[in-house]
């Protein structure tokens, strides 16, 4: 039985996605634990230029115009073939909008075990996942021949991004991609008319705790006083209170400001993964156990409605001095 560790690398518009760094770094560690090889699966069309960025022992590459962009139907068909042929010991996916669409589907289709939201592995190679918004950790293992795992970013990252890798390459030719039931019509880039929050130095970020659309004014005032920009976590965007361009998180933007001021944000893993590169994080949340406090530099449990107006007043007072 092979002990080889496989990862599905994700890429978009000719570049490896950030999650691929997590998967390759974690995969390398597992390969060392199990004394086996790290093998990357790359699905694409004319994507050979990515080989040099993949520090794996081998790349299995399937090239087909139908794999040009992510298509769950095409991807699952090709991956099924590869998995059945190779029977990887572990196959790592990103817990992303791509990996999550595939892993559950393939697990049922191929009758293999699946662990999702894995943040890291123990030294024995057990899987540690985070659930319940990061409030509960679960250690698990599997005795299956092949186990599929989706990983969240955070713990693992390639030390340096190399562009001179030369992995062994195995070209995989899918026998037959059946008529696809999903077609990509077009890709829409985010509207560029709005500010780019990934480049802003001061972010005032609001979460569910802001309660109503009208209360966003509080954050606006603080942003104005500090010369920052307002952004938000998922629940605020889903209410339609701010445009998607202001979303910080897994399916929004990753940010790296000088100051990330989190108001009423609990700190779910999907949000936290996008703010860890902030220089300073200040969090206001009435729940003392909110996971946001574990990554913030400063925190307070005071009610945001008692604090923000006073804070704005003080900042403005200093500026007018």
């Amino acid at each position: 039985m092979s002990q080889d560790i496989y990862v599905l690398v994700e890429h978009f518009q000719g570049r490896l996605s950030e999650i691929s760094s997590t998967l390759l770094a974690a995969g390398r560690q597992l390969a060392e634990i199990h004394n086996s090889s790290l093998i990357a699966i790359l699905l694409g069309s004319n994507s050979q230029n990515l080989f040099k960025e993949i520090p794996a022992d081998k790349v299995i590459y399937a090239d087909n115009p139908l794999l040009n962009e992510f298509n769950q139907d095409a991807y699952q068909q090709v991956l099924s073939e590869i998995i059945k042929l190779k029977l990887p010991f572990l196959l790592l996916f990103g817990n992303t909008t791509i990996g999550s669409d595939l892993a559950g589907f393939l697990s049922v289709k191929l009758n293999m075990d699946l662990a999702s939201s894995c943040s890291h592995f123990t030294i024995e190679g057990n899987i540690v996942s985070q659930i319940c918004g990061g409030k509960i950790m679960v250690e698990s293992n599997s005795t299956a021949t092949t186990t599929l795992i989706t990983m969240v970013p955070g713990r693992y990252k390639l030390q340096t991004l190399k562009t001179d890798c030369s992995p062994e390459v195995e070209i995989f030719t899918p026998t037959n991609i059946n008529e696809l039931r999903i077609k990509t019509i077009k890709i829409l880039e985010p509207e560029s008319s709005d500010v780019d929050i990934s480049k802003e130095p001061i972010l005032i970020s609001i979460g569910r705790g802001i309660q109503t659309k009208e209360n966003i004014e509080l954050a606006d005032n603080l942003a104005k006083a500090l010369g920052g920009v307002v952004c938000a976590s998922r629940p605020v965007i889903d209410q339609g209170w701010l445009p998607t361009s202001r979303l910080v998180g897994k399916s929004g933007k990753h940010v790296k400001p000088k100051l990330y001021f989190a108001i009423g944000i609990s700190g779910a893993p999907e949000h936290v993964e996008a703010i860890t590169n902030s220089e300073t994080i200040i969090a206001i949340n009435t729940d003392p156990k909110a996971p946001i406090f574990d990554i913030a530099n400063y925190g307070t449990e005071i009610d945001l409605f008692d604090l923000i107006d006073i804070l704005v007043e003080k900042v403005e007072g200093i500026k007018t001095k």
Partner: protein
């Protein structure tokens, strides 16, 4: 158009969570369960589609404390049929749930199946992709926005960085909803009470749950953070003063 929506209840994360003495499951004795917010969006999207294109909405939910209220609320919002799968689901994973739901979906034969893209207690992937594989239907998750065409739907799928792809997917299919086009509607308690008198929950017993596909839980634990924020206590005035000092230190204000 015939739409089926799967609703799940999940732990309310506002409440304290605790772990059973066996160390490998959540203590559900006092745990408050609420509707998975993404499922609530899936329901809203289904109702919006029904209003736009006509048709019917069937809601299917596994049994949990409080699920009747959730089902009656769905009915008050516009669901035509509400089904409760009865049995012990307290420790069921998504693989088991998907397999248990599959026969009902095959019986109803909907054109479209909507479910929330994820739930906060997912440990073996989310329900949608598992269900799609059981039904041998195409799947797309992280969807916010659906338009119906003749034999297919046009959906908007989200990617990191705000990129969106527009996909055309043949019906029938399973869709994991990230957000409905408009936020879930509010329905007055009085209306729900009224519905309780007139609608009926169809109960469908589930005898066996096949958990295969999930990994074996060794232990659950609460994370011990490697670091913690320096907490600032005091009156709003004092906290604001301290924050001003921090702003100064990091050079945000001078």
């Amino acid at each position: 158009m015939k739409i089926a929506v799967i609703l799940k209840l999940v732990p309310d994360l506002v409440e304290e969570l605790s772990i059973n003495p066996d160390g490998s499951s959540l203590d559900t004795t006092w745990m408050r369960m609420i509707i998975n917010e993404f499922d609530d969006h899936a329901l809203e999207q289904a109702i919006l589609l029904k209003e736009k294109y006509s048709g019917s909405v069937t809601v299917i939910s596994p049994e949990f404390d409080g699920v009747d209220d959730v089902l009656f609320t769905a009915s008050a919002k516009g669901a035509d049929q509400i089904i409760k799968m009865t049995g012990d689901f307290s420790n069921s994973n998504n693989h088991a749930l998907a397999k248990a739901i599959t026969p009902f979906i095959k019986e109803i034969q909907p054109d479209l199946i909507l479910t929330g893209v994820q739930a906060n207690n997912d440990l073996d992937g989310s329900l949608g992709p598992c269900l799609a594989a059981c039904l041998e239907m195409p799947f797309a998750g992280y969807i916010s926005g659906i338009n119906v065409e003749d034999k297919s739907i046009l959906v908007r799928k989200e990617y990191p960085g705000g990129v969106i792809s527009e996909l055309s997917i043949f019906l029938p299919c399973v869709i994991g909803i990230q957000a409905a086009e408009t936020p879930p509607r509010y329905v007055a308690v009085s209306k729900v009470r009224q519905v309780m008198k007139t609608s009926k929950i169809d109960e469908k017993p589930i005898s066996e749950m096949d958990q295969n596909g999930g990994v074996k839980v060794i232990r659950m634990f609460q994370p011990e953070a490697s670091s913690h924020a320096e907490m600032i206590n005091g009156t709003p005035e004092e906290v604001a003063e301290r924050l001003i000092t921090v702003f100064n230190q990091i050079g945000i204000i001078k």
